[in-house]
Structures are given as structure tokens and as C-alpha cells.
């Protein structure tokens, strides 16, 4: 299945604000060669934009935290606000 088909199985309550931010795009560009966020995220929240910038689809975040364990340079990550985010019905 594509990741979108996988995520379509889940219920999400989407906040207007993202709970994930890039601290500074230049920092990612200059100091990060590996772009681990693109690969370790099981929901593919992170994709590469045309200018080589990191795009964030926070709406489909499964809130596992793998990204901030892999990245110690560029991410400001918090859990979504109370009552928002993924809603597991099986878990």
C-alpha cells in the first residue's frame, strides 16, 4: 500500500497549527547531509521540496518521535495539542 492509503485507515483530528517546525531552513541545508527525517518517519511526514527544502505534512503524523531521535539539528517537535492528532481505535 502507498503511505497515503495506510494513513487513510487512521482517524485524525487535525489542528490548524503544525506541531512540527523546521528551526531554520538554512541550518538543514548547510549542516545536514543525510536528511534522515525523509527516511525514518513511518508516515512520510517529511518530503523534499523543489528547492531542496524539507516540507512537512504534519497532518499525517503518527506521533512516534522517530524523527527527533534521528535528527538533532533542525526539528522543533512537540506532541499535538491535547485532543488533536492521530486517534487510534485499535492501538
Amino acid at each position: 500500500m502507498s503511505i497515503d492509503a495506510n494513513l487513510a485507515l487512521d482517524a485524525f483530528k487535525i489542528d490548524e497549527e503544525s506541531h512540527i517546525q523546521i528551526i531554520d531552513e538554512m541550518r538543514c541545508k548547510e549542516r545536514c547531509q543525510t536528511r534522515q527525517c525523509l527516511y525514518v518517519c513511518p508516515a512520510q511526514v517529511y518530503t523534499l521540496g523543489q528547492e531542496g527544502e524539507i516540507l512537512i505534512r504534519y497532518e499525517g503524523c503518527l506521533e512516534c518521535g522517530a524523527c527527533i531521535i534521528a535528527c538533532d539539528i533542525g526539528l522543533a517537535w512537540n506532541y499535538p495539542r491535547g485532543g488533536f492528532g492521530v486517534q487510534y481505535r485499535f492501538g
Binding site: 500500500m1 503511505i3 495506510n6 494513513l7 485507515l9 487512521d10 483530528k13 543525510t34 536528511r35 534522515q36 525523509l38 527516511y39 525514518v40 518517519c41 513511518p42 508516515a43 512520510q44 503518527l62 506521533e63 512516534c64 518521535g65 522517530a66 527527533i68 531521535i69 534521528a70 512537540n78 506532541y79 499535538p80 495539542r81 491535547g82 485532543g83 492528532g85 492521530v86 486517534q87 487510534y88 481505535r89 485499535f90 492501538g91
Partner: protein, 430 residues
């Protein structure tokens, strides 16, 4: 939430550890507040998963028989996967069919609300839909939390906020999060009829199967696959070390591993016709004893996954029993502290002692070397492949006459010996 409330204990997170703690505190009459960021307890929680109940029975009254457990596991399977072959060991034992049962498959969005209800019945207050944003400090001591801009004061804060614990970080109790100390797991829940599950796995009514996989499915990375049968769903997933995944990247996407796993002939017929109903992910502490945070500080205790209380021995994966027991032990410490009216660091340090005296830290101590042992990539490529290949060679009848069994085995052994001797020696240490 009203501002500047004061309670005896605030617990951050309504998972198994937090709820177990709340249950006991409330039972002892302590004013206990559990703050949970999800819509309801369990809505953010994920397990593989299976719960071993024997280790925790002594910490609770006999409440488990009423719990929304899925199936009791009567069949244990371990599969070594090669590229085009695999070897499965199956243990079936009558002992697994005896009550009280040895282990149960569970689904957290069903199980946790039940435990929450039990805690609530005892008098605990659970406030969902609120994220705890910060700890409150006074003179170097944690004195409460901030949730949704409201301050709540407490004699003790219990950090039960899971494997990615911001409370541990904010309290300065952690060692930093190293990629080698965590794995990331993805899981699909696949709906099937109860009768299809029992037929496909050869189970009687209510019985369940648990199967772990290692080898080519993780393409040489530290990790493996799992399959647990629930009442009318199957939990199927893959777990991979974050450190290993980072070495493998770029270009490697985790969810593709699960897709390939589902296509394997060992799996495909088992889930045929089933409907995927959920896709979930979580991180798992894999560092064992050596990467644990400090479990107590001034005004704070750490329980469950937040304390890194998980154990993977390759054959057995545990965490939820540790979570329940650590929550109960933290409650015991707090209840004793309350009796003495002494919430000092020395008083709370009793929690660590009680963990050491319990199975929780005894087992983590016994398997102290396990995380190092499991970092060996040969466990995930060379050995499972060699096992499957050599058995295939023994079983295969071709046009040519067969060689002696010893010749086949020796041929295989010669390939493995350079590394296997050293690795076998390591086995003796775990």
C-alpha cells in the same frame, strides 16, 4: 481546567504505567490526577502486542479476568527468514492452556480505557485532551505541571509519558536520546473473522498465536517482525533499530518493509482476504539497563516506557508488564512517603530500590548485555539465511545422489566459522 489547583499526585500520561499508578494511589485514598493528551486513555497508545500477566499478578487484586483481553497465547512461533526460504520453530504446550493464562494479546485502545475506568472507580481523576507542556519548579524541586496554560501543583509528579518522554528531558533525568537505544515499529491491524483466524493458525476457541520473525525481512538491520492474533484481527508489524535505519538510509523507507513483509509467502496466506483497519507507529526503548534515565528526582518519579523499562531478548519482547509493575511500585513509594509526610529526594529514592528488588530491574540486570549482543548484524542476515539454506540442502532430493549429512553440515559450518565462534562465545554472556 481551573487554575492553580493542588492535588497530591499528578500523573503525566494515561498509559499502563500511569493508570496502574493512579489505581493504587486512589485506592489508598490519595488525591490523584492523571493528565492525558489523547481524547481518551488508549487513543495514543500502541502495542505489538502481548501482555504477560504472571509477573504482575502479585501487584494487583485479581482484576485481569474481567479485562478486555484478546486471545490467550497457546502457540509460540519463531521464524528465521532467508531470501527465498525460512525456518519456523513452533512451541505448543498444554501448559499455555492452563488458567490463569500465561500471556494475552491485547489492543490498547480497548484495554487502556478499561484500566482507566478501574482507576476512576477507585477515585482517580483522569483529564483527557490536555497536553502537559512543562514542569513547575521551586528551589530545584518539581512542584507541579503546566497543562493547557493551567498550573497544577502536586507533592509528586509521575512521568508516565511514554518512550518519547519530554518530562524526563525537562526534569534533566535522561541521558539524551541516542538512535542506537531506540527502535521504530509500524503495525497494521488486519480484520479477519474469528473462525478464519482459528482455522489458519490451528487454534481452538479463544486461543491465540504469537510469532516473531528475524532475518531478511529487515534487510540485515537490527529488528524483526511480529504477528499476534487478536479476537477478530491480526496485529502484524515490523520493528527496526533507528540507528540501523539511519545507516541504511538514504533511500530506504520504513513502511516499505511492512509492505514486503506482507507479500512474503509465510505471511500472505495468513492475512488473505483480511481488511487493514489501522496503521500505527511507535518507538521502542531498546537500550536496556545502561540507557535508562534516573527514575527519581526531586518531586518526580519515572515509570514505564518513559523510564526505558522494556526488554527484547530476540525470543521475547516485553514492556507492558514492566509498565504495570513500575506504576504499582511508584504508587507504593508515594503512599509510604505520604504516611511519613516526607516527599524528599531520599524518600522518593525508595522507588528505585523497590524496582531493583522486583522482577523489573532484576530482569533488565540479567539481560544487561542483550542490547549489545543484538547490535550484531549477522543475527539478521548471515545466520537466518544459513539456517534456512542448510536445512533446505538437507531436505532437497535432486537428480544427483545426496552427500553425507555431515558433509552438508560441514560445508555450511565452514562458511560460518570465522564469525560464529566469536558470536557463540557472546551467547554465553547473555
Amino acid at each position: 481546567m481551573a487554575e492553580a489547583e493542588k492535588v497530591e499526585v499528578v500523573i503525566v500520561g494515561a498509559g499502563l504505567a500511569g493508570l496502574a499508578c493512579a489505581y493504587h494511589l486512589a485506592d489508598a485514598g490519595l488525591e490523584t490526577l492523571v493528565v492525558e493528551r489523547g481524547d481518551f486513555p488508549g487513543s495514543k497508545n500502541v502495542t505489538g502486542g502481548r501482555l504477560y500477566l504472571h509477573p504482575v499478578r502479585r501487584f494487583f487484586p485479581p482484576i485481569w479476568e474481567e479485562a478486555p483481553l484478546e486471545r490467550h497465547v497457546t502457540k509460540e512461533r519463531l521464524t528465521a527468514m532467508g531470501e527465498g526460504s525460512s525456518v519456523t520453530f513452533e512451541l505448543a504446550s498444554e501448559r499455555f492452556k492452563e488458567k490463569p493464562y500465561h500471556s494475552h494479546t491485547i489492543l490498547r485502545a480497548k484495554f487502556d480505557p478499561w484500566l482507566a475506568k478501574r482507576a476512576t472507580q477507585k477515585g482517580a481523576i483522569i483529564v483527557p485532551k490536555n497536553r502537559v507542556d512543562d514542569l513547575l519548579w521551586r528551589e530545584g524541586k518539581v512542584i507541579g505541571i503546566v497543562a493547557s496554560e493551567a498550573e497544577i501543583h502536586a507533592s509528586v509528579v509521575v512521568a508516565a509519558d511514554g518512550a518519547l518522554s519530554f518530562m524526563v528531558e525537562k526534569a534533566g533525568l535522561g541521558q539524551g536520546r541516542k538512535p542506537q537505544d531506540y527502535a521504530v515499529g509500524v503495525k497494521e491491524v488486519i480484520e479477519l473473522t474469528s473462525s478464519a483466524i482459528e482455522e489458519r493458525f490451528g487454534l481452538s476457541d479463544g486461543e491465540g498465536a504469537a510469532q516473531l520473525f528475524f532475518g531478511s525481512l529487515t534487510e540485515g538491520m537490527f529488528g524483526g517482525g511480529f504477528l499476534y492474533t487478536n479476537i477478530d484481527t491480526i496485529s502484524l508489524g515490523v520493528v527496526v533499530g533507528i540507528g540501523a535505519l539511519m545507516e541504511k538510509a538514504p533511500g530506504f523507507e520504513l513502511h516499505r518493509l511492512l509492505d514486503s513483509f506482507k507479500e512474503r509467502p509465510e505471511i500472505k496466506p495468513l492475512i488473505e482476504g483480511g481488511h487493514p483497519v489501522e496503521y500505527s507507529a511507535r518507538i521502542v526503548p531498546e537500550g536496556g539497563l545502561e540507557s535508562m534515565p534516573r527514575v527519581y528526582g526531586h518531586g518526580i518519579l519515572v515509570v514505564g516506557d518513559a523510564a526505558g523499562l522494556a526488554l527484547n531478548t530476540g525470543l521475547i519482547v516485553r514492556g507492558m508488564d514492566f509498565a504495570l509493575a513500575s506504576g504499582a511500585l511508584a504508587a507504593r513509594t508515594i503512599i509510604e512517603a505520604k504516611k511519613r509526610d516526607d516527599f524528599s529526594l531520599a524518600s522518593l529514592s525508595r522507588y528505585e530500590e523497590s524496582l531493583k528488588e522486583s522482577f523489573v530491574l532484576k530482569e533488565l540486570e540479567t539481560f544487561r548485555e542483550m542490547p549489545h549482543f543484538l547490535q550484531n548484524p549477522r543475527l539478521f542476515n548471515l545466520y537466518p539465511q544459513a539456517l534456512a539454506e542448510s536445512l533446505e540442502r538437507l531436505m532437497w532430493i535432486g537428480e544427483e545422489p545426496k552427500e553425507k549429512i555431515s558433509t552438508t553440515l560441514w560445508g555450511e559450518a565452514r562458511r560460518l566459522i570465522p564469525s560464529a565462534v566469536g558470536d557463540l562465545l557472546k551467547v554465553w554472556r547473555i
